[in-house]
Amino acid sequence: MNKFLLKLYITGDTPRAERAINNLRQVCERELHNQYELIIIDVLEHPHLAEEEKIMVTPTLVRELPPPRRRIIGDLTDTAKVLLGLNIRTYPVSESGKD
């Protein structure tokens, strides 16, 4: 199984950024079951990364792996829409609950 590599671009330590992180973690824990790696990138601390990726707004979530690359922007509270935007299906869970 390919592991998901997700990058979340945020701007500073704001309530909106914190909300986006929490929402995304919940979605990942519920849907991806540890089969993911989440990288939080603050565009204020790493402006060059945002420039390279041509990030225009935050919060922006990029699915780097597995291909194809997908990108969603906006509110991450709606799990169904987030999964739809990332083109992620519900990840099958083995009997052990992991892997």
């Binding site: 701007t11 500073g12 420039e51 225009m56 919060p59 969603i72 935007g85």
Partner: protein, 542 residues
């Protein structure tokens, strides 16, 4: 379909091979035909320019002769139907030359009924095509207007496809995103996700100030495919204003909460809209007044009516109606143990929605108590002044210069001067007796003060003391006690001392009366001394 004759323009460059005969057409059905036969394209152009040709027939045309037809293309657009009746000609060549070619026949097997039917179908088809073209033009105009509206919209608008690729963006979007149209078109923006109607985004600018936008998303069809229309509204200034308002409100609320005054905003129905936060139990909880029941959401007027606070209620209503600029009243709030006081001040408040009043409740209990204490203190000071005047009078009475001179003339010297040691001893005893008298009164202990006073009176009588000597003793003791004694205790000494000196005088009078009776009984008038005898042992007082 109407009954007007179909006007057919027949182009036959090689008329010798033509099989169509003008005469044959009218007999081929109910539809009337009118055939115009021309041999040159130039003539065809002239007829087509008249605009009443229904069918354009290409007759026997060799392929190489189609080039001159190019000028016909524009005119043929208005002709409902173009027929080719010579299958030997290359069909594609004719289609390229006359783009509206619709059907062709074998020139040898033309069925005129079928041709008539097809002609009418072609007319209908042409009409439909015309309508479609018309609608298409309208749609193009509409889309142009739509794009114009979007382009001029103050909100930034992007259209992205389902992969998040930017397909369109207006100038406002360029401004908000700080990017040029050509840089973003075809680039990945992202799949927009919102939970409700809108969501807020931070705009990434490098470098640049913080900027925020509100995003709305609607599904649309764009250039034939499903897409998202993303509306971005710059809310940076709005957020700054909101933040400033929040900070201002927090500042105001902090100030309101810091003051030790309970403030309630009451609307026209008496509903307490809001209050500040003062310490818990600002109003005494044991109090019988209704102020302790004030809380946000309660009805102030109802509480007033239930408590019978009519004056306060009327005052608030007058301010609400604009009949008074303000209202103030002191409101007692007694508990079983002590009494509290609050100053209630009512001021009008012009809110955005309706007229309200601001009711401030100021705890003035300390002020009230201080005022009471001050009044009591003043009364005590006045009383002490009065007592002081009394003592001074007594002193003056005890040491009148005239009396001393007069007494000296008559040989009456005060005990203080004649027997100072005995005077001091009596003062000490009087001093002790006045303390005992106070204890006797306060603690109900019988110190037998009266007996001691009687004994002292006997001693004073023996010394032939007069009232001035008693007052001298009394005032000396009070003067000594007043120096370092608490005012309250000094007051008690004065009161108790007054009784003691009166009692002492009484005993002294009684002594002299008894002494006088005893002398009368034992001495004859002749034996009485001519002048008062000297004090025993001292000899100076007579």
């Amino acid at each position: 379909m109407n009954n007007e004759p179909l006007k057919i323009l027949l182009v036959e460059v090689t008329p010798g091979e033509a099989s169509l005969q003008r005469e044959a057409l009218p007999h081929s059905g109910t539809v009337q035909f009118e055939i115009v036969r021309v041999a040159q394209f130039k003539e065809a152009l002239q007829y087509l320019a008249q605009g009443d040709i229904t069918v354009f027939l290409l007759g026997l045309l060799p392929s190489e002769s189609l080039k001159p037809m190019q000028p016909l293309k524009k005119q043929l657009v208005a002709v409902p139907m173009t027929l080719l009746i010579d299958p030997e000609i290359d069909l594609q060549t004719v289609e390229r030359a006359v783009h509206d070619l619709q059907i062709y026949f074998d020139k040898e097997q033309i069925e005129w009924n079928l041709l008539t039917h097809l002609t009418h179908c072609a007319i209908d088809c042409r009409q439909l095509q015309s309508e479609i073209r018309q609608y298409s033009q309208q749609w193009q105009i509409s889309e142009a207007r739509f794009r114009n509206v979007i382009a001029r919209n103050a909100d930034g608008i992007l259209i992205v496809d389902h992969d998040g690729i930017v397909r369109f963006m207006n100038p406002a979007a360029e401004t908000i995103l700080n990017s040029r149209n050509q840089d973003l078109l075809g680039e990945l923006f992202g799949f927009p996700v919102i939970a409700g109607e809108t969501t807020e985004l931070d705009i990434v600018r490098q470098p640049g100030p913080d900027q925020m936008a509100e995003m709305r998303v609607v599904d649309i069809e764009w250039e034939g495919v499903q897409a998202y229309l993303i509306s971005l509204r710059d809310i940076t200034e709005q957020k700054k204003i909101e933040r400033a308002l929040r900070e201002s409100e927090a500042f105001s609320r902090a100030i309101l909460n810091s003051i030790m005054v309970y403030i309630a905003v009451v609307n026209e129905e008496g509903l307490i809209i809001t209050t500040n936060e003062v310490k818990a139990h600002y109003f005494p909880q044991k109090a019988a007044c209704f102020l302790k029941n004030l809380a946000r959401g309660g009805n102030y007027f109802t509480l007033c009516r239930q408590a019978g606070a009519t004056q306060l209620l009327n005052g608030m209503l007058e301010v609400l109606r604009g009949e008074a600029d303000s209202f103030e009243a002191e409101f007692p709030c007694p508990t079983p143990d002590e009494e509290f006081w609050f100053l209630i001040r009512v001021k009008p408040f012009e809110g955005n929605l309706q007229r309200s009043i601001v009711v401030s409740h100021i705890d003035i209990t300390k002020d009230k108590r201080a005022a009471q204490a001050e009044a009591e203190s003043r009364a005590k000071v006045a009383w002490i002044d009065q007592r002081e005047r009394e003592i001074r009078s007594l002193l003056e009475l005890a040491h009148p210069p005239q009396a001393a001179v007069t007494a000296s003339i008559f040989g009456l010297v005060p005990i203080r001067e004649s027997v100072p040691s005995t005077f001091e001893e009596i003062v000490q005893r009087y001093n002790e007796l006045i303390d005992l008298a106070l204890e006797q009164r306060a603690f109900k202990i019988d110190h037998r003060v009266s007996e001691h006073l009687r004994a002292m009176a006997n001693q004073l009588g023996f010394l032939k003391a007069g009232p001035r000597d008693l007052i001298d003793i009394h005032s000396t003791v009070l003067e000594r006690k007043g120096g370092s004694t608490h005012p309250l205790k000094a007051q008690a000494y004065v009161e108790e001392g007054r009784l003691m000196v009166l009692e002492l005088m009484g005993y002294l009078v009684s002594y002299y009366r008894s002494f006088s009776i005893g002398v009368r009984r034992t001495l004859t008038p002749e034996a009485l001394p001519a002048k008062p005898s000297n004090r025993p042992g001292e000899g100076g007082r007579s």
